[in-house]
């Protein structure tokens, strides 16, 4: 199969590496709009060829749309347009974005809708760009497939094979539930990390102290604050209502903590910490 990857960053680049290495793709065509990233992707060898978008979509059997979700919403209908104009009813496009409702709405009535499979591989690091791509990024993680009933069963089956190749376990959900649950479990932890970095950089005027005193605990809690604005601005914008809801709950919990500490109410602090400790049962 010929696989086209649009966006040779962390996710697209890592997918290109493993799909080729594991034989799912005989050839990988890459598209990369940013000239510096395109040159790097070519130098690293993420794709067999780096080509223009139109050529990639026309030539590939399966297209992976791996750009930030703001751009993906515009590009997805254009890709389906090319499929339709080619009368290539067997071709497939997937996205790998972290929000789904806007994408789902953007192509809901497209005549080639069935050729699109909405997917969200839940893997990544805080780094981005072609330099961040790596083999094995997806190993053992979960991948959500959204609105599978809107896609052709054959397309879904091929995409399941793709994620099986990447050693991912698939979970099925509709777009709307996807966006609620990812706000609860993933998006909020990025916002809390950004806020933590802002706080520490604000309070601790001497960066040397941060460097010296940062234990493993602080580093792991703040690590997501390195994440790229280009990726996160459209996610927070498209998933605004769910994100605001979970932020409000979070701010309530912080205020409850603040009150218990301020009042010296050690029993209340204990209850809060013990309740939080329940996460031990769930997260390794």
């Amino acid at each position: 199969m010929k696989v086209g990857v649009i966006g040779l960053g962390l996710i697209g680049g890592s997918m290109a590496i493993d799909l080729k290495r594991k034989g799912f793709a005989q050839e990988v065509l890459g598209v990369e709009a940013e000239p510096l990233n395109a040159a790097a992707a070519q130098k690293i060898g993420l794709a067999d060829r780096v080509v223009p978008l139109q050529e990639c979509v026309e030539e590939s059997d399966l297209v992976v749309l791996a750009v930030p979700v703001g751009a993906a919403v515009k590009m997805l209908p254009e890709i389906l347009d090319i499929f339709a104009s080619q009368k290539a009813a067997e071709k497939i496009v997937i996205d790998v974005c972290s929000t789904k409702e806007h994408l789902s709405r953007a192509v809901k009535y497209h005549k080639a809708r069935k050729q699109y499979v909405a997917t969200h591989p839940m893997a990544g690091t805080e780094y981005s760009g072609p330099w961040a791509a790596m083999p094995g990024l997806f190993d053992g993680h979960a991948c959500i497939i959204c609105d599978a009933e809107e896609s052709s069963p054959k397309a879904v089956h091929t995409v399941e094979q793709l994620y099986d190749t990447l050693n991912m376990r698939t979970i099925y959900m509709n777009s709307s539930n996807h966006d609620v649950h990812t706000a609860y479990v993933s998006h909020i932890s990025h916002v809390t990390s950004f806020a933590l970095a802002l706080t520490v950089l604000d309070k601790e005027k001497d960066e040397k102290h941060i460097f010296d005193l940062a234990s493993g605990g602080f580093s792991s809690t703040v690590r997501l604050a390195k994440s790229s604005p280009d990726m996160w601005i459209p996610i927070l914008s498209q998933n605004r209502d769910n994100v605001l809801q979970v932020m409000d709950t979070y701010i309530d919990k912080m205020n409850a903590f603040r009150k218990a500490i301020a009042e010296g109410d050690e029993e209340a602090v204990r209850t809060l910490i013990e309740d939080a400790n329940r996460i031990r049962r769930i997260i390794r």
Copy 2:
């Protein structure tokens, strides 16, 4: 040298392992008040002998006080009392607690004050108890030595050798600055993790979703929420003013984020994320 370790948990147990293994201690005497933990420590072999407190302090050349800081504040003067009653002016006691001002005040006028060296090895995991102890826990991390001028130079020198044995680099600070900086860099990240766990457990009623959707990012951000209340209640209580101050800044940052997202002000969101990204330059 004979080293006594009071509290054979994560920190004390890990120190016992490495001080013995690396030859700094010829013999390690352990004290563990909790019977189950004492039995476990003995079974794991963290100390050569598990003995009562009085015996440990009387026999040891250097005592490591590795209990939660609430208990440490009570025990430290008692240990110095034993040193004084023994007329053992060469013996040393160190603590390894995360707050220092209360400890410092508790022994400020003790006649054996010079035999106490206040230390804070900045290493750990989210686990506790003798089962959490491990070799190499301290390797490459920083250790703060507080108020070194209050201790005898010889005692400080011995303690520097101890931390050198553990491969730690030493930093010097007074107690008051220590408590400010650890609130800014370490204590706040525990509070934000506890609040994150509370939020996700509250919003996400179905724990299976948390398990399925937890990516590496969420797991690392929430990991400190597994930390023990017995350790953290006295830290948050003793360092209350500094912790409240940094929590207030944190809540302000969250509210700024909330406002920018709610208003759809993508430029403001970008500025916040880019400011947070400065942490990249400091944290690996």
